[in-house]
């Protein structure tokens, strides 16, 4: 087991209960999709796992250690973040840095890796997402799909144990979604552990091996992807799949 979160609670402004006792575990090499209607707490869960949001309560086991999520120290958070990658919905590339610098910045500044070595790692990461020819471009010179691929390169460059994806294709024009999903599928094939909040049912069905379905800050159902789609146990899951099911294309199967 690579990561385990237990009983995570998060309330915004003392009234809005966003996470209401969420527990999940991720094995090495898992690709887990988190599905659910908007407002179900998917993104908040991901942000709590990487401490972008502070959970009110919850335990996190990661990298052989256990943390109280409400009281994890800055130092521990920094240590956890060095072993994780995060890909945002809105890419969040550093606007004043080139594609290559976006990838190497964390390596050089946070990890103290020598520049030439970091550059090499960065170029390899950009090659992996198919952007070798865009190393010296600034984010403003790249399409949304290219920016998100740079963001993925930035996440993989530090060889994290797990990468969190927060709706990585939701901000993209439809014709640009494919190139990002292709990169993610490639990562999955390489054995990268991924936790993906997504609305892409085809990705959840055919790339991830596990699916978590959330609603109202709780996990309604979780299980193997095939089982989840073909034989959902919960009434609520069936209803959800019925309303969004037409976005699932069976012929896309490989």
């Amino acid at each position: 087991m690579l990561l385990k979160a237990t009983n995570v609670h998060k309330t915004f402004d003392n009234t809005l209960r966003v996470l209401d006792g969420v527990s999940l575990s991720v094995e090495q090499g898992d690709v887990v999709s988190i599905l659910g209607p908007s407002g179900s707490g998917k993104t908040t869960l991901l942000r709590c796992l990487n401490f972008l949001e502070r959970a009110d309560e919850g335990r996190l086991e990661f990298g052989g250690r256990e943390y109280d999520m409400a009281h994890t120290s800055k130092r521990d958070i920094a240590a956890i973040r060095k072993k994780t990658g995060f890909v945002f919905q809105s890419y969040n590339l550093f606007a004043n840095k080139t594609a290559l610098q976006n990838v190497t910045e964390g390596l050089i500044v946070a990890r103290k890796i020598p520049r030439d070595q970091a550059d090499e790692t960065g170029r390899r990461a950009l090659a992996k997402v198919g952007l070798s020819d865009r190393c010296d471009h600034y984010p403003s010179q790249l399409s949304g799909g290219q920016q998100q691929r740079v963001a993925i390169a930035r996440a993989i460059a530090a060889e994290p144990q797990i990468i969190y994806f927060d709706e990585p294709t939701s901000a993209l024009d439809p014709e640009l979604i494919g190139e990002v999903l292709a990169v993610m599928r490639q990562l999955a094939d390489d054995g990268m552990t991924m936790l993906v909040v997504t609305h892409e049912l085809n990705f959840a069905r055919y790339v991830s091996n596990k699916v978590i379905f959330m609603e109202h800050g709780r996990i309604v159902e979780q299980g193997p992807a095939r089982e989840f789609f073909e034989n959902p146990r919960e009434e609520r899951t069936r209803a959800f799949l019925q309303t969004v099911g037409d976005r699932l294309s069976p012929q896309d199967k490989e």
């Binding site: 990658g85 840095k97 964390g106 530090a158």
Partner: protein, 224 residues
């Protein structure tokens, strides 16, 4: 215009320009450099919400922006000797101009910091950088570029405002002009002349601003 007046204007041009170059410009440059340090510090403690220092910065900006520059000059140069602090005119002017410009520039820098998308800070922290590293390497460089046109404005304002230093006996170019005018009684011609020199200076500064903006905009939408 008679030839005598033209002769006076030509003769006085150098006598006005020289203290302009030797006093007005250094006064502007040194004051602004210090103002920038004050502004970035006052903006950062507000942006990062540092307790106490944040309130201190607000108080500083409130007081300085709420009182006239001329009065501030008088307090420091003519007032402080009453409590045993006597300053030379030039250092007194530097202190007042940098503190005054710093208060305005602090607001400019703060707004520019806030214009950097918060997602970039989160992204920086997610790749393991500390908050300070993210500020120094990602947020501040972008903020300074955003703030640049307004800051350039402040420089031009400051350059003109240094004429107020004549009131505390700094021999900058306005005082030099006053002296010639007092001797020759050609007030209109001489004050117009010094106005033209100020205009000349601010024109050069505006040109520099344009050039600077062009260079700084490198990463913003230079599409192929």
């Amino acid at each position: 215009m008679d030839s005598e007046l033209i002769g006076l204007l030509i003769d006085s041009f150098g006598k006005i320009l020289l203290p302009g170059l030797a006093m007005t410009l250094p006064l502007t440059a040194i004051s602004f450099a210090l103002a920038l340090i004050i502004a970035v510090a006052a903006a950062l403690v507000q942006f990062a919400n540092v307790r106490v220092l944040r309130q201190l910065a607000r108080f500083y900006i409130w007081v300085i922006r709420g009182t006239p520059l001329l009065v501030q000059l008088y307090i420091v140069f003519y007032g402080l000797p009453n409590v045993g602090v006597t300053l030379e005119p030039f250092p007194a002017a530097i202190i007042v101009f940098s503190i005054n410009t710093g208060a305005y520039a602090a607001e400019t820098v703060r707004a520019a910091l806030e214009s950097v998308p918060v997602g970039q800070i989160e992204a920086g922290e997610c790749v393991g950088m500390s908050y300070l590293q993210v500020m120094r390497r990602i947020v501040l460089p972008q903020a300074m570029r955003t703030a640049f046109p307004s800051l350039a404005n402040s420089v031009i304002s400051l350059m003109k405002d240094t004429s107020l230093a004549a009131n505390i006996t700094v021999t900058e170019m306005f005082m030099a002009t006053q002296r010639i005018a007092a001797r020759t009684y050609e007030h209109l011609a001489l004050y117009i002349e010094v106005a033209i020199v100020y205009l000349l200076f601010s024109t050069v500064l505006t040109k520099l601003q344009r050039m600077g903006e062009k260079r700084l905009s490198a990463y913003q939408s230079r599409k192929e």
